[in-house]
Subunit: 234 residues, 2 copies
């Protein structure tokens, strides 16, 4: 079972949704059959890197509210986060640009360390109030995920993976993603938003039972379909 | 429409099948809607790099035949190749290990140059009798595809993308690939082997008509599916 998740590391419901999916997978008897793939999505591609404004100041300015009202807006999210065991700290969170974090995450994927990296980036933003737009911070976090410091530095100093990030964002629009998180199972079932764990369980069960029943593909063939195996070509 | 092709650069029917698919796509009115993705598959992961044996000597030894009989075995493939406009030269072809070529192809994918690279690698093997197990040859070919020489050298000197190649090979076995080329359309329809162009056309038409009719996904949702858009989180 293939689960693709479009998300952004500065999106609170993406982290909450990630945890809810993980909890659904934990209780799912076929957990080991699920392959989770993180797809890039920048909520604001023009976001300033390493903003001096706090998250609350940013929200207050955006919606013409007082700082106290902005805090009220985030309180509900903090509560939802704590219900899945997450510790959100909007008061000190650093709004930033996430292109570089997505590029490092794509690099991590080539090393099989994408899951670790995604979790560490989310935690850095929402719990540890780190600025994941800052290269030194990204290098430190990536190293924690198991990546090689100097390789990550090389990626950051280049434009590597930028095109891949953009391609995944284009694909998001093509498949109809309007907000994140957006979960796609076996390219057939979708869960939009940080739905309750039960919804993820339903979708997983539906996809799994179908996958189990049906042969993988409907095959088209003629008479001359030659192919090669490790033993011969015929 | 998403077309995934598992293939190996030293597999003759993979190159022939690639061309037949391309010809089917050319005549397909919705060509621009097709995204082609090359997936790694090594026919022989233990193959010697830069073999001193010719292809005919290798075949003769493997099947206990004379050199002349081995030549006869490849003549049919050369004919099939010429019918799709390809010039196969088994007489001078260099058998080799393809792990490094696959790694470079995966690197090319991150730069959006995977299509160019695949075509150049196939042509190098079957028409130009080049050794794609040799690093300098790979660097030269990759440069021709538009990649940066020194970046490709770095990839080759590391183990970058090896895990990704292996993951794609594991995935091949999971979806039931027994030989290559193996084509999967929208993760639903499969074409196994270098089938005639008409078979590819049938599969493309079926997948496209279905894609057009149905909504992208069946969506699971509850009441609290919060998500973030570029404007807000709610």
């Amino acid at each position: 079972m293939k689960i693709e998740i479009w998300s952004d590391f500065v999106c609170p419901f993406c982290y909450i949704g990630k945890r809810r999916l993980e909890q659904a997978l934990e209780n799912f008897p076929n957990e080991e059959k699920a392959e989770v793939i993180y797809k890039s999505f920048e909520l604001d591609p023009n976001a300033e890197r390493s903003s001096k404004q706090s998250m609350h100041e940013k929200l207050a300015a955006k919606y013409g509210r007082s700082l106290e009202e902005a805090k009220e807006m985030t309180r509900n999210m903090e509560e939802q986060a704590s219900m899945v065991g997450l510790d959100f700290r909007f008061g000190t969170m650093v709004p930033t640009n996430t292109m570089d974090a997505h590029r490092v995450a794509k690099f991590a994927e080539t090393k099989g360390l994408d899951q670790e990296t995604a979790e560490i980036f989310f935690r850095a933003v929402f719990t540890d109030s780190k600025d994941i737009g800052d290269h030194e911070t990204l290098i430190e976090l990536a190293q924690e995920a198991g990546l090689d410091q100097s390789e990550v530095r090389q990626v950051l100093e280049s434009t590597d993976y930028m095109e891949l990030v953009r391609t995944e964002e284009t694909e998001a629009h093509q498949v109809g993603v309007q907000g994140v998180p957006f979960f796609v199972i076996n390219r057939k079932y979708a869960v939009s938003g940080a739905q309750p764990k039960e919804i993820f369980t339903q979708a997983l069960e539906k996809a799994y039972s179908e996958e189990k029943q049906s042969p993988a593909f409907e095959t088209f063939s003629g008479q001359n379909g030659a192919s090669c195996t490790d033993d011969s070509c015929e």
